[in-house]
Symmetry: C2
Subunit: 375 residues, 2 copies
Amino acid sequence: MTRPVWWESVVADVDSAARAGVLHTPSGDVETPAFMPVGTQATVKGLVPDLVAATGAKMLLANTYHLALRPGEDVIAELGGLHAVMSWNGPILTDSGGFQVVSLADRVKIDDRAAVFRSHLDGSLLELTPERAMSIQRKLDSDIAMCLDHCPMLPATDSEIARAVDRTIAWAKRCREAGGSDFQGVFGISQGGSNPELRKRCAEELTALDFEGYAVGGVSVGEDRDEVRTAVRLGAASLPADKVRYLMGVGRPEDLIDSVAQGIDIFDCVLPTRNGRNAHCLTSRGVVKLRNACYKVDRGPIEEGCPCLACVRFSRGAIRHFFLAGEMLGPILASLHNLTYIQRLLREMRDAILTGRFARFQAETLEALRPRRLD
Amino acid sequence: MTRPVWWESVVADVDSAARAGVLHTPSGDVETPAFMPVGTQATVKGLVPDLVAATGAKMLLANTYHLALRPGEDVIAELGGLHAVMSWNGPILTDSGGFQVVSLADRVKIDDRAAVFRSHLDGSLLELTPERAMSIQRKLDSDIAMCLDHCPMLPATDSEIARAVDRTIAWAKRCREAGGSDFQGVFGISQGGSNPELRKRCAEELTALDFEGYAVGGVSVGEDRDEVRTAVRLGAASLPADKVRYLMGVGRPEDLIDSVAQGIDIFDCVLPTRNGRNAHCLTSRGVVKLRNACYKVDRGPIEEGCPCLACVRFSRGAIRHFFLAGEMLGPILASLHNLTYIQRLLREMRDAILTGRFARFQAETLEALRPRRLD
């Protein structure tokens, strides 16, 4: 039994396509816009779940491709499912594995039946079909399962993108047929690059399948910024207004803001944690690169006023030392800060939408993030 | 101004030399017997300080050698001292760096004036004198500073150990002369291997210098178990009964129990965290090696009844997956568990001493830890 309503709009912005809403999942509600930290292998890297929750995150993403390869979906199921393995009671979304097959696996061959590939871990020959993607996700027992789509790496010709759209539609039908678990919502993924006709056709066909939510896929896979923006705009506008819209794999603060303005509701991205592990810290005035010598004896926090553990309890100089000494605490603290920053950004956007200040918030926040010569 | 009393006995066991007491430091009291987790480079590897505190640890150790090399004691001082850098308000003890010079540095030459060596990080030529060891520790601003001693690696001849004892006594005098900070306690370190005469002479000379506490040094540096036990017994018995006794670098549960029985009050060791990072988990029935295939779909905790986050929230199977997937969460959770186990062991020993049950506790706990064929 899927629930009848998975997402409700609370306030729609008058100046843009931005909207504030609530996503309902079997493991609880999530206010949108929302950002999902990525727990690729069933853990947000370096963070015990209480620290993840302390950043303000309500919902996590885990990767079907990685978990199916190791430890395997049957092992996760025997261990009680993803919520138990991750020790996370809140909502969890799993992707379909399709994107990792294209980006990580070796010797990928995709036809209408399946994606056949070699594991990046041990070279074993594997295949992913729409039916298998759904079967894995049922066993993982996530709250939301994603359809298997065909995401072409860009640049690609219109006819290549059109073929990917056709296959994505056909696979979405097979995924809908195969179904998630009784409690799982299933989201469709639209393709079509920055081609308005293809985006429209893909969205219409997916909408006819009445998924619980929809993702804009095929974005940030090799194209330039303008093309990303066009694809997000076309992708969001073509999807139904009464369902949640999810932009996959986008996490730069500027892109989050612009995408919310286009009507995107939820996001996931490794950027906050991956950049954190590289000592790149997100702040409202741009990136602080903690390895820089200028922070050697800096007693100040990563970002003044930030309530995260890293900022309240540690100095830039101390965290820099942890990074230079190769200590795990550096990546841990910087990841914690970055996730806290991103969660705050999303919450501020929601507040701005609710109070009719979104356009101004967008302009001011982007201006503060603009790279400066001095600083 | 050093405080007049650094340690007080509360109850002395009647069946053994074990005692329960309280160590008073500028950053607070510590009930003894006590175990200090090691924060080599100003962080207990992988653990934010709240997680360290959650294990029950009250006092940490940090390594003078490592911190003097990187980031340097002046950087630590400019960042507000070790308590600020580590974000740890409780007591911190620093070692003198002498042991790491002998065990880690390259091309060490030791004479009566100094230990001259090359940094294991960049090969630069450095020297450690008693005066410099104290100066570094003053700048680190720990609660307790250790004298520079000369710790000979075993096996060594009696005359080599005797020379090390002479030098240790001479250096202790120079350390006492140089002094710690106004608030810092300074502990002497006795050498002498398992030779009763040498242990006695070293302890007497150190006692005459009236340190705030005393360590049994030169233990677990290449000798067999029986010799360790002899050295601890001789070392502990020869040191003053009204001062705290610290056994450096010993952390096996069996050795902690036996050493408390010999009158040792405080310990430090990397064993709980290092073993944790290798997926070796300490339990009251011996070591659980989490990488073993038998734990693949094991839903049980590392140790039944353990209140740590790893045991309350994660299964053996899940933590095994984190280790096999190379995720930081594996080492984090296993370190957390191991430190929790060790802190509980020390607290149980104290309770047993206070209630006159120590001999029985020792026998039962050692029996439970004895390796079994089946299990």
